[in-house]
């Protein structure tokens, strides 16, 4: 596995092979990564929402009334906030927030992206160390899973560089049978944790 260096990243962006846009400042491209900025939507788990996460609760029986309940649970799990620029969002200790990047990404077939926190922010307790891989062929915003591991709330503003993405060259064919469930996302959304694992999950009566 080869990590793309700055010159290779710039070369690919200029040729249109790799898209991370907009790049707003020269400093945004590092030695072997690109900083990502916080976008304008925040999803937070609702206090009065689901009691726990259970893949079995997301199994559907198409066409039954149960679908309505599942959809309600899914859609009401999070509180959704749109945060315009120059607006503060407070991330409290131990809480998790899903936010999009401001940048739109488009990865070529031979490149894998890895998203991590920027060390500047990590020192304040901001963690972005959950789902970090972005597959080849992906296009859309990247979802950042923010957690505050510190003791005091962190104020965040859309447009801030809070994460970074590094790119690795992938060998072999990367085509998959179906498009990833989050491809062409414009904002974070609830994933399907039961997808393709039905064999192992009990059905509702």
């Amino acid at each position: 596995m080869t990590i793309l260096g700055r010159a290779e990243i710039i070369r690919r962006i200029k040729s249109g092979n790799l898209v991370v846009s907009p790049i707003l400042t020269e400093e945004q491209i590092g030695a072997a990564s690109i900083d990502l900025r916080m976008g304008n939507v925040v999803l937070m788990v609702r206090a009065r929402g689901a009691s726990h996460v259970d893949p079995a609760a997301t199994m559907t029986k198409s066409g039954t009334a149960q679908d309505y309940e599942i959809e309600v649970d899914r859609q009401q799990k999070h509180e959704r906030y749109e945060i315009p620029f120059e607006t503060k969002f407070l991330l409290h200790p131990s809480s998790l927030a899903l936010v999009p990047t401001l940048e739109w990404l488009k990865l070529p077939p031979d490149v894998l992206g890895t998203v991590t926190a920027r060390s500047t922010w990590a020192r304040e307790g901001l963690s972005i160390a959950t789902a970090t891989l972005i597959e080849p062929h992906y296009e859309g915003i990247a979802t950042l899973e923010l957690a505050n591991l510190g003791q005091i709330p962190i104020a965040l503003y859309p447009g801030l560089r809070i994460a970074q993405i590094a790119f690795a060259r992938v060998g072999g064919d990367t085509l998959r049978p179906s498009r990833g469930q989050f491809s062409r996302s414009f904002e974070p959304r609830q994933g399907d944790i039961a997808k393709d694992d039905g064999a192992f999950i009990p059905r509702r009566p």
Partner: protein
């Protein structure tokens, strides 16, 4: 409970309702001026109540009406949810409205309107408070209402140019948008031709060249009312307002407005000549369309900014122009001479020039090409380039130009070699996201120049 006691009760209720609006998050700071204005109006009513005696029934009724009106505005605070409309577009519209609708109060002090944005189930509208600003410094409310189902349809949102025209027409004070539109544009459009008087309008309707749909409508009217149709001056004024607002929207958003105008209005006007003679509030669609086509020609917007060198993008742009310029309607639908239209255009441009960068400017061929190319690659249409050392070349692109590119992509997509064109919805979403990214680009440029 006496009427005066009821008034006091209603006052307390409205006050409580206003207080409870603070429980909810409507977005950052944007509802503060609106809230403060409601508080100020409530305070004025509070001052008046102790001076009212129990037998002043008409005064009690008047105060109740004021409270009822205030309650309506308070209710609208709660209808504002950032997640229900495209706020990048709304912010652009807010900036335009703030500039266009500023007016002077009775003291001669400039007063900005309070722009509030909501999403409703109904169509596009801007509700502008009719009450003139008072010496006490009250601001007028202007409510911009997006149709809720069209949350991301920024290409269609250009129709707000028409609604903004209506609001601008109602501003007061010399030197303001309303004054200029009345004195320059209205005068130009009524200087000659059918719109010069209601008598001439009646003659125009009865002209031998009128389409059969009109003649049939006139015959039906005479048969049911027992008298020949006579066009009322009230409706002539309404037609003028509508036509001026169409011009206003076109000059504000460019051909993207004409595309949205056609996309939204043509399906709802199966008979393009229909007038609805008993209450003809709007000109027939054919008249409105024909005027927009002619104005685009007079402005040179009927010619593509790209040329054959730009290949596919040029053919795509030509598709858009063919769509908006297609005019199948009879010459009878022409209400104004070129001279009248030129004077009207100049009048509206005078309004825009007072506010800096307002008004559509055609993009350069390179800019348009870059934006459309981004859409063909399923990317938000911004100009996003970096040089060989990774330094970004940031470019301001005006909202109307971004949306023009969106229409060029959508109407010209058949020329694309790729077989997987974006849906109209996805085209809109990418344009919507581009407006958000463009805002970040503009902020960075402004920051760098400080």
């Amino acid at each position: 409970m006496t009427p005066l006691e009821f008034l006091q009760e209603e006052f307390d209720n409205v006050g409580r309702a206003l207080g409870e609006t603070l429980r909810y998050d409507y977005g950052p700071e944007r509802s503060r001026p609106y809230y403060d204005e409601c508080v100020a109006r409530l305070a004025r009513i509070k001052t008046a109540i102790p001076k009212i005696s129990a037998n002043q029934l008409q005064t009690i009724r008047d105060r109740l009406d004021e409270l009822s009106s205030l309650a309506t505005w308070i209710w609208l605070i709660e209808r504002s949810h950032l997640g229900e409309f495209s706020w990048p577009f709304a912010e652009e519209l807010r900036d335009m409205a703030k500039a266009l609708l500023a007016e002077k109060n009775l003291k001669g002090t400039a007063v900005n309107p309070i722009i509030h944005i909501i999403a409703e189930g109904e169509g596009y509208q801007i509700v502008y408070e009719r009450q003139v600003p008072t010496p006490s410094g009250e601001h007028r409310f202007a409510i911009i209402a997006f149709p809720r189902p069209l949350k991301h349809h920024v290409l269609l949102h250009t129709i707000f140019g028409h609604e903004l025209g209506h609001t601008a027409l109602h501003t007061t004070g010399s030197g303001g948008a309303g004054g200029i539109l009345q004195s320059r544009v209205m005068t130009a459009l009524t200087a000659s031709g059918p719109m010069a008087s209601s008598t001439k309008m009646t003659s125009w309707l009865n002209h031998a060249s009128a389409p059969t749909e009109i003649r049939s409508e006139l015959t039906r009217y005479s048969a049911s009312s027992g008298q020949p149709y006579s066009f009322e001056n009230f409706f002539r004024q309404q037609w003028l307002d509508e036509l001026i607002c169409d011009l206003f929207g076109l000059l504000l958003f460019g051909p993207g407005f004409a595309a949205a105008h056609q996309a939204l209005l043509k399906p709802t006007h199966p008979n393009p000549y229909k007038i609805a003679l008993f209450a003809p509030t709007h000109p027939p669609y054919a008249v409105r369309h024909k005027m927009l086509v002619r104005v685009m020609q007079l402005l040179g917007w009927d010619r593509p900014v790209t040329n054959k060198k730009h290949k596919t993008f040029h053919y795509m742009e030509r598709e858009l122009l063919t769509y908006v310029l297609h005019d199948q309607y009879t010459p009878w639908s022409t209400l104004f001479t070129d001279q009248q239209l030129k004077r009207a255009i100049k009048g509206i441009q005078t309004v825009f020039s007072a506010y800096g960068s307002l008004g559509y400017k055609q993009p350069s061929a390179d800019t348009l090409g870059s934006l459309v190319e981004r859409l063909t690659n399923r990317l938000p249409p911004i100009v996003a380039k970096i040089d060989s050392i990774g330094k970004p070349q940031l470019t301001r692109v005006e909202i109307a130009q971004t949306l023009y590119a969106g229409w060029v992509y959508w109407l010209g997509r058949k020329h694309l070699a790729k077989q997987d064109p974006l849906s109209f919805f996805l085209t809109n979403r990418l344009c919507d996201y581009a407006l958000l990214q463009q805002r970040a680009i503009n902020m960075t440029i402004s920051w760098g120049s400080n």
